[in-house]
């Protein structure tokens, strides 16, 4: 519960930073261009501060409590409140790692190689699925992606920087 409370506070602080960025960056634009973002950013920042204040005031995140300006309705429960089982920080980091790894794979060697390798490696490492099931799924999706995008839609899928494609400019 305490971890959840801390996590929610950290998330709210990040969102507050995001809202304040829009306010201060917005002040640098002309009148018409800054009016809406500065107004929305300011209101959002105030709302986040109120939510933070209600969390600090209550001392902990209430399961059914009403925050500042809250209603009598039950709030949307967080994942840990809905599903006590299955959460572990290490597992979450592994999942995020898989996602970032897949992006890195696409960037380096493109979709054609990353898709089957990702499916097989995830299936084997995370669930110890059988080689046959992993390979079959990987082949089906490789054919689907190459067939649908490259041949049917005529979209050239990213080949990866190691195979000569350049990352687009940011």
């Amino acid at each position: 519960m305490r971890k959840l409370s801390e996590g929610r506070i950290i998330l709210l602080i990040l969102l507050l930073g995001c809202a304040l960025y829009f306010v201060f960056a917005g002040l640098g634009y002309g009148r018409n261009s800054r009016l809406f973002p500065v107004a929305v950013g300011t209101v959002t920042a105030v709302l986040i501060l109120l939510d933070l204040a209600s969390l600090w005031a209550s001392g902990l995140v209430s399961r059914t409590g009403v925050g500042a300006g809250g209603s009598g309705r039950t709030e949307v429960p967080s994942l840990t409140e809905r599903e006590e089982v299955g959460y572990s920080g290490a597992r979450l980091m592994r999942m995020v790692g898989w996602l970032l790894g897949s992006a890195l794979g696409v960037g380096l060697v493109g979709f054609a190689l990353t898709v089957p390798v990702f499916i097989v490696s995830f299936g084997r490492v995370e669930g110890r699925a059988s080689w046959v099931a992993c390979l079959l799924t990987a082949v089906v999706f490789f054919i689907f992606i190459v067939g649908y995008f490259e041949f049917f839609m005529r979209i050239r899928m990213f080949r990866g920087v190691l195979f000569g494609d350049l990352l687009p400019l940011i």
Binding site: N32, L35, V40, S71, V96, L99, S102, G127, I155, P168
Partner: protein, 497 residues
């Protein structure tokens, strides 16, 4: 009222569109069967794949997926006591005991028939409401549009989040994210964090939507066990049970009508969908019914659950199509699809693109019918899909979303945006934030800014324009009333009032 209907019907007569609707129904059905997935995730994953389709086919595709997942969710709810979607939660109470008695086919037939009939009622209400909402849409100029978006955001923030402050804060973040990039209304390039190329057009909508809805769900699935569901499979019974189930549904016309009306009303209310109507309709029937089998496999209870959750889509579509305020997450994705295919969302949709409204109507109808017929025929095999290992399901979801996100603009950074959006969506959900206010803010933020700036241009900079137009003033009063309602409610609870 019927302008544009010819285009929608003619398209549905084309073999390729029929194929697209069939494929969409299968996709929705399978996604519905899989616990953890539903029409929202299926639509999010399918959205990029509509890029190569023409506008009408794409909207048929998304609408059919939207409607077909609900019945899909009822199949495992009845056969293995695991609701495939939240909209089938109450279905387990009556459906599974019937299946345990060896009446699986009968329960599935009741579910399918009630789903089709409920869907017809919902879509019927949508069709009947078209002339009225079309007339109302004509009253909307820039100030009314701005106030409408504001009212939509505040209503959804309250209805979905429960905590209006947190709901509005997250919808504010959605609005701010939508302002990144080139602002057509002022001709200025903003909030790019130093990016000179990628953020010129802002955050790619499809990458963001698919990431927030699809990848966050993939992370959640990956955090769970190895198999989506464990349950004992039950006997289906013979074909006689199917016929009996179809007849049974018509034995409770009052229950069916009452539950369908509940479904439509719940659907019209912003942000709440089949998961609420399914439970509300069942609870009301359980209180009224004299059936001794209620809670132990009652036909009447099952009719109530299934007609309500399917009627909800017609209700959901009314605010979505009339005013661009999505009634549910699925409708938010549909709005994303409309944006992707260049269809303007908001009050002017019904003025300029009535054919799209009819495409949504027929798409929802076709998806409901095809999924129910297909679901009845394939029930035995569909229930087995829940035994798929998450270790294979998760990477396939990830692969579909990443390739789809890339394919829209063929830009590698959209893949990165999808992943970051997925992680962001996961943390928001984990810490009690609803995704709907975020997405609605993101989808409607630019519309709101445009309406706001145009209003100020008309009034030469005076904010009085928002209060001098009668409809705008009415909507503003609605905003104030919705904002003050929680405070009033607290005072009542505390006994002050």
């Amino acid at each position: 009222m019927f302008d544009g209907i010819g285009t929608a019907v003619a398209a549905l007569a084309q073999p390729d569109v029929v194929g697209i609707v069939l494929l969409a129904s299968v996709i929705g059905l399978v996604a519905g069967v899989l616990p953890g997935l539903g029409n929202v995730q299926a639509m999010a994953m399918a959205l990029p794949f509509t890029f190569g389709m023409d506008r009408v086919s794409a909207i048929y595709f998304l609408s059919a997926i939207c409607a077909s997942a609900t019945f899909g969710g009822s199949v495992p709810a009845i056969l293995i006591n695991v609701p495939g979607t939240p909209a089938s939660a109450a279905t387990t109470i009556e459906g599974y005991p019937m299946a345990k008695r060896g009446e699986g086919n009968r329960a599935l037939a009741i579910s399918a028939t009630a789903s089709v009939m409920g869907g017809l009622v919902g879509i019927g209400v949508l069709v009947v409401s078209i002339p009225f909402v079309k007339w109302a849409a004509l009253l909307f100029g820039p100030p009314e549009t701005f106030m409408l978006v504001l009212l939509g955001l505040i209503t959804i923030a309250y209805a979905i989040q429960g905590n209006i402050i947190r709901g509005l804060a997250i919808s504010g973040i959605g609005v701010l994210l939508s302002l990144i990039g080139y602002a057509s209304v002022t001709g200025v390039y903003r909030f790019s964090l130093g990016s000179k190329h990628y953020l010129w057009d802002g955050i790619e909508q499809v990458a963001f939507l698919t990431g927030v809805f699809g990848l966050s769900e993939a992370i959640q699935l990956g955090m769970k066990g190895r198999v989506v569901a464990h349950a004992e499979e039950v006997a289906l019974g013979g074909f006689h049970g199917t016929l009996q189930g179809i007849i049974d549904t018509f034995r409770y016309p009052l229950t069916f009508v009452r539950s369908s009306v509940i479904g439509v009303i719940v659907g019209i209310a912003p942000g709440v969908g089949g998961s609420v109507s399914n439970v509300v309709a069942y609870a009301m029937t359980a209180q009224i019914s004299k059936d001794p089998l209620i809670g132990k496999g009652s036909v009447e209870g099952l009719v109530a659950c299934e007609s309500a959750n399917n009627a909800t889509y017609g209700g959901d579509a009314i605010p979505t199509l009339a005013f661009g305020i999505p009634g549910s997450l699925a409708m938010a994705i549909l709005l994303g699809g409309l944006n992707l295919h260049g269809v303007p969302v908001g009050p002017w949709l019904m003025r300029e693109h009535m054919e799209i409204v009819w495409v949504v109507v027929f798409g929802l109808l076709a998806g409901t019918v095809v999924s129910c017929v297909g679901g009845l025929l394939l029930a035995r095999w569909l229930a087995r899909i829940t035994l798929i290992s998450t270790s294979l399901l998760v990477p396939t979801i990830v692969v579909l979303i990443l390739t789809g996100a890339y394919a829209i603009r063929q830009n590698f950074w959209d893949v990165v945006v999808a992943i970051l959006s997925g992680i962001f969506g996961y943390f928001l959900t984990r810490h009690g934030f609803s995704l709907l206010p975020l997405i609605i803010g993101f989808l409607l933020g630019a519309v709101a800014e445009q309406a706001f700036i145009q209003s100020l241009h008309i009034s030469e900079g005076s904010l009085s324009i928002f209060f001098s137009h009668p409809l705008s003033l009415l909507l503003f009063l609605g905003v104030v009333a919705t904002g003050l309602y929680p405070v009033f409610q607290r005072l009542v609870v505390k006994g002050v009032l």
